[in-house]
Structure formats: structure tokens, C-alpha cells
């Protein structure tokens, strides 16, 4: 009977068919069914999340010790150091929540990628020095088994900051601080400048400081990918989603002076998935705000700044996105291979890009000229009117140049004093900040990551003391102004 039903050509093959397929001839996909059943049994067994009813593999986990909001270079640096400095392997579960995995608007990828130690604050100088040594030994820090070593494409050409008459004294005192901290900076007079860089026009320049070592520019994307790869190999989980809500509890306590204060503690982070209403409440112990230009929104979600102005409760996080343009131009008669990153007295800066007479640069606009940060559209008139004249004045060869392309990126600009915010918030006790570095976050990221990780794990800064960068200075009004912002 069987032989009549099934095709003749099978022959001996009939006997090898399984019992279930004899009836009718429709295929049951037995192998697929078996693997599905195995998956379901595995998910019931302890140690796995119960996915019986729906697939939740795209959602973040339900529990995580630390949630880092923002997956840029600062967030990944904090994740890396948390995993490096934890007391036992696997002691801390870290989740990095990044809204955009393509990093299309993230400041890290759009950055010019410079690193320099020429700051006025000793803490900034120490952070940059540590970051330079981190980048130098990056293949020891971020080594992953079986992965190729990272090529940061570092150009050690240095930074050349020019100062006019009125800034010369400040520059001298800055250089003294920098040398004391260990940065190798040399001061040059206009004559020495002309000897060394014949293409420069020293009109209006009284003094110049030239960084000799550990300064230059590198590829920020490579650092980001290297950190991401290493951090994933250390066991940090990544999630693409947006933080929409913090669920927190408050507790009324008395200070030592018997003043009532309300302390908040975040218990859950609601992470909403992309292009859907689905969200996952992630129970967490610590939240790290490394959201860059959008840190203020995250802080507002946590309740930072809700209160009467002038009080600690009412002090908002003064970080806002500021759009900055970078232009790439080609100039065949331009300065040669030895060009450092030159920062003019007017605020315009440029550096060599590659070996084909291409340069890139820009200028920070004044407060009145600030462009609208709603989008990343480039304004070419800004280059014509505000950047090119200064460049052409400083480097006469730049009078004939041709702009090849341009892009715009955000600074996480700290409107208070243009320096970063690091450390816990005094009232929302488990939210730590690592943001607001106004254009020099990338070059200080390794140092900042380590400082925040030390604060989280040990309760205080151990290697570099960043106590002047705590949040409380906004309430107390203690500005630590950084003068050398490009």
C-alpha cells in the first residue's frame, strides 16, 4: 500500500523515511519544531529570562547595576573603567543605552580629534596627559583576543596657540602651570615663529605657545570602535533605545544643621525602543549621565532643576548643545607637513588633513552669532564672512583656497564655565554626571572615565582629583573658567 502511494522513483529510500511523514505527504518541518521546543525548554530552565510568550531579545535586561545613558566616547570610557576597576570579575553589570547606533549626531564621530595639554586648569592638563598616555598604549589597554590592533592614526604635530598683546601675560602663566604639571610646551616670540613657520603672518601676535610632545590629532572613530569592542568583550550590554522616564523614590532627611532636604534615588530607567511604543523598565542602582549635548534633558527627567531658582533643587544642569562647523578646504600653496593645529588670536583654528594640501578648521562663533542647534545643517556663509578673513590674515597662502566639504557637530557646551561636570548630584544621589566638556570631552575621555569609575566604585577621586568639577559649583557659583577653549 505504501509503495503505491509514494512515487516509484524512491525505491529503497522508502524505508528510511520517518513514520510521521507517511501520512499524506505534507512536510512537518520536524527539525525546525525540535529546535524550537529545545529553545523553549531552555528558557524555562533557571538562569534564562522567560521568553515563552514573546521574544524579548531586543529589549535591554530587566536588571542592571549601572545604566550609562549615552554611548559616545565618554559613556564607553566610563563603562570600560568600571569593568577595569571592579573588585572581582563580573561583579558589576553595566548597560549602555544609546539612542542612535549609527552615531550620526554624536559629537565623538564628528569631532576634529585633537588632543592638547595647553589648558589653564591643572586638572584639565592632568586629564589630557593621562589620555595621551592611554592613547599611546591603546593596544595594551584595549586589546581583545583575536582582534586586530587599533591604528589611531595619531599625528604628533602639536598645537600652536597664538596670543595677542593683551592675552600674552595669561598665556605665560598658563604655560608655567602646564610645565609644572609635566606638559612639554615651548614659548615662541614672533621672530622665532617666523623662522620656524615661514608661512605665518605674525601681525598682532605677541606670544605663541607650541606643544612639543603628546599633542596632535587622531581618529576619534577608531577610539570609539576600539572602546566599543573592548567593552563588549568585557561583558557590558548594549541597548539601542531612548531613556524616557526615571522612576525614583524620595526621602526626607535632615542635614547636620537640622535643615530638611529631600534626597531622591532612581530605581528604574524606562528605555523606549526605537520607532515603537515598547519600553523596558530597567531596575538599576546607579545611573550615569553621559548623554553629551542632550544631558540636560536626561537630567530634567531625573528631577534636576525642579524647584525655585536660586536653591540647590532649582539648579539646572547648564549644558546645552551648541552647533559648531568644520570646513575642509584645499590649498596647494598652503603650509607644509610641519603644520601644527594652529589656533589664532581670533579663535579661528585649522590643521593639516592628510598629505594632499587639504586643511580643516573652523571657528567658534561669538554668543550673538550662535547658530540654531536644531539641526546639523552647515552654513557656508559663516565660513565666507567669519572664518576665511581671519585665516587669510594669519596665513597669506590661504587667500586662495577652495572649500571641499563641511560638516557640523554639537558641543556639549557648559554655559556656566565651559568645563565638564563630573561626579554625583547632591540631591539625586545615584545619578553621576560625565558631560559638559564643551569641545574637549574626546581628548580627556579616558581620564574622565577613570575618575567617574573611581567615584562610583570607591566613593572618591583617587588618581586625578576632579572635585572642582562637581555639580555643586553651579549652586555655589564657583566658576572654574577655562580660557583656552577652541
Amino acid at each position: 500500500m505504501i509503495r503505491r502511494v509514494l512515487p516509484h522513483g524512491m525505491g529503497r529510500g522508502l524505508l528510511t523515511r520517518r513514520p510521521g511523514t507517511r501520512r499524506g505527504g505534507f512536510s512537518l518541518d520536524w527539525d525546525g519544531k525540535v529546535s524550537e521546543i529545545k529553545k523553549k525548554i531552555k528558557s524555562i530552565l533557571p538562569g534564562r529570562s522567560c521568553d515563552l510568550l514573546q521574544d524579548t531579545s531586543h529589549l535591554p535586561p530587566e536588571h542592571s547595576d549601572v545604566v550609562i545613558v549615552g554611548g559616545g566616547v565618554l559613556g564607553l570610557s566610563v563603562a570600560y573603567w568600571l569593568k577595569k576597576l571592579e573588585s572581582r570579575r563580573g561583579a558589576i553589570r553595566v548597560l549602555v543605552v544609546e539612542r542612535d547606533h549609527t552615531y550620526s549626531q554624536a559629537s565623538t564621530g564628528l569631532s576634529v580629534g585633537g588632543i592638547c595639554q595647553q589648558f589653564s586648569l591643572p586638572e584639565n592638563i592632568q586629564l589630557s596627559l593621562f589620555s595621551a598616555s592611554f592613547l599611546r598604549n591603546i593596544n595594551e589597554y584595549l586589546a581583545v583576543v583575536d582582534a586586530p590592533p587599533l591604528d589611531l592614526r595619531f599625528n604628533p604635530s602639536g598645537y600652536l596657540l597664538l596670543a595677542s598683546e593683551k592675552d600674552a601675560a595669561a598665556m605665560e602663566s598658563n604655560v608655567k602651570v602646564q610645565r609644572w604639571e609635566g606638559a612639554k610646551v615651548s614659548l615662541m616670540s614672533p621672530d622665532q615663529l617666523r623662522n620656524k613657520f615661514p608661512w605665518i603672518n605674525t601681525e598682532g601676535v605677541a606670544l605663541a605657545s607650541y606643544g612639543m610632545e603628546d599633542e596632535g590629532w587622531f581618529d576619534p572613530w577608531c577610539l570609539l570602535q576600539g572602546l566599543r569592542r573592548k567593552v563588549q568583550s568585557l561583558g557590558v550590554l548594549f541597548c539601542q533605545g531612548e531613556v524616557t522616564r526615571f522612576v525614583s523614590s524620595s526621602q526626607r532627611m535632615l542635614t547636620t544643621d537640622d535643615k530638611a532636604v529631600v534626597l531622591k534615588r532612581i530605581h528604574e530607567v524606562h528605555v523606549k525602543m526605537d520607532r515603537s511604543l515598547e519600553y523596558q523598565p530597567v531596575e538599576c542602582a546607579i545611573v550615569i549621565n553621559a548623554a553629551g549635548a542632550w544631558s540636560a534633558q536626561i537630567a530634567a527627567l531625573a528631577g534636576v532643576g525642579e524647584g525655585p531658582p536660586g536653591t540647590l533643587q532649582g539648579t539646572k544642569l547648564p549644558v546645552e548643545p551648541r552647533k559648531r562647523y568644520v570646513y575642509v578646504w584645499h590649498c596647494p600653496q598652503g603650509p607644509g607637513l610641519e603644520t601644527p593645529l594652529v589656533a589664532d588670536t581670533s579663535g579661528a583654528y585649522f590643521r593639516r588633513e592628510g598629505l594632499g594640501s587639504n586643511y580643516l578648521g573652523g571657528r567658534s562663533p561669538t554668543e550673538q552669532e550662535e547658530p540654531d542647534p536644531a539641526n546639523l545643517e552647515v552654513d557656508h556663509d559663516f565660513f565666507q564672512d567669519k572664518v576665511w578673513p581671519h585665516l587669510a590674515l594669519r596665513v597669506p597662502a590661504f587667500e586662495t583656497l577652495k572649500v571641499q566639504s563641511a560638516w557640523a557637530g554639537y558641543y556639549d557646551y557648559n554655559t556656566f564655565d565651559q568645563n565638564g561636570v563630573v561626579g554625583p548630584h547632591p540631591l539625586v544621589v545615584n545619578m553621576y554626571f560625565a558631560t559638559g566638556f564643551s569641545g574637549h570631552g574626546l581628548q580627556q575621555a579616558p581620564g574622565i572615565g577613570r575618575a567617574v569609575a573611581e567615584m562610583v566604585l570607591k566613593g572618591r577621586f583617587q588618581t586625578i582629583d576632579l572635585s572642582p568639577f562637581l555639580f555643586t559649583r553651579f549652586y555655589l557659583g564657583e566658576k572654574i573658567q577655562e580660557n583656552n577653549i577652541i
Partner: protein, 178 residues
């Protein structure tokens, strides 16, 4: 006071080879010297080549002798108007070395050394260095080149042949040395 961080790891392996061949060195040493590329030695070279192809031990001996010659050529410092100071067969420098503390060092040949970024500290303190050779140092990269500017006044020759980790970005910062 400066200490030289010049160590060749191959010396360790050579020490093991040396005692075995002591008896036969004198005989074959002449052949070993004939490996130098000279036109009139061509005939001897072909005999050696022929022997090398047939006997593994002849080949090993020739390589060992070549390495010894090369090692003598490397690992040396030059003092003004004096001969090269070389380490003896144990890799140690002789005692009269210390008499030369005050004499400035003019040339350093650090080829094939494992010198790295921190090791350059020692070399950069030599203010009258005229010739520096960092050939085939595998750890010298762009960061190390950016450290060479203190030698700008006196350095006349710099050799970086065969360093695999330097690129045009490091060479761009050599403009300090004029």
C-alpha cells in the same frame, strides 16, 4: 650618569651555541670570513655554498658566525677619537668604561634593540649626540619620533630604516631637527 639600555636577546641564545663548536671554530673560521661579499672570494663562496647546501651543521655554523660578526658591528658606542666600545662576550662592558663618564657621547647605535618610548628617556639626555641609529627597532613608532626634538641642536644623522611602526605622521614631526 647614564645607563645604557642596550641588550640583545640573541646573545643569550648564542651563548648556548658557543661551547659546542669550540673545537672546530678555527678550522671553519676562514670559510666564515669568506661570506663577505667580495669579488675575489667568489670561488671560496661557492665551495661554502655547496657545503652549506649539503650539510645542515655547516649552515648552522655559518649563520652563527655571521650573527657574531653582526653583533660586534652593532651594540657599540663611539667616543670622540677613540675606538668603539663594545661589550665582551658576556654582554658586559669593561671596567674602564666608567673612566669615560665625563666624555660626551657622540653616536649611539641602537639597531635591533627593544627600545621603546620610555627607554628614549636615556638617549635624550645625551646633549651632544651627533648620530643616532634606531634601525629595525620594532617598538619605535610615531610617538617616539615626536620625542626626538631635544636632540635638535647636535643631531646630524638619524637612521630609522626598517622600523615597521613609523608612518608619515611621525616623519612630519621630524621638522624640529633641522
Amino acid at each position: 650618569m647614564w645607563d645604557l639600555v642596550l641588550e640583545d636577546r640573541r646573545m643569550n641564545s648564542l651563548r648556548l651555541v658557543a661551547p659546542m663548536w669550540n673545537g672546530r671554530i678555527r678550522g671553519i673560521h676562514r670559510l666564515g670570513a669568506a661570506v663577505a661579499p667580495e669579488g675575489n672570494q667568489k670561488k671560496k663562496r661557492t665551495i661554502l655554498q655547496f657545503l652549506t647546501n649539503y650539510f645542515y651543521d655547516v649552515e648552522a655554523l655559518r649563520d652563527y658566525l655571521l650573527q657574531r660578526e653582526m653583533y660586534k658591528v652593532h651594540e657599540k658606542n663611539r667616543f670622540r677619537d677613540k675606538e668603539w666600545i663594545r661589550p665582551d662576550k658576556y654582554g658586559h662592558f669593561s671596567q674602564e668604561f666608567w673612566n669615560f663618564c665625563e666624555v660626551p657621547v657622540e653616536a649611539v647605535d641602537a639597531g635591533d634593540c627593544d627600545i621603546n618610548y620610555e627607554g628614549l628617556d636615556n638617549l635624550l639626555r645625551l646633549k651632544e649626540l651627533q648620530s643616532l641609529s634606531l634601525q629595525r627597532c620594532c617598538h619605535v613608532d610615531d610617538w617616539c619620533l615626536s620625542r626626538l626634538y631635544p636632540l635638535a641642536d647636535s643631531l646630524q644623522e638619524l637612521s630609522l630604516a626598517g622600523c615597521p611602526r613609523i608612518s608619515e605622521r611621525g616623519l612630519a614631526c621630524l621638522h624640529h631637527l633641522q
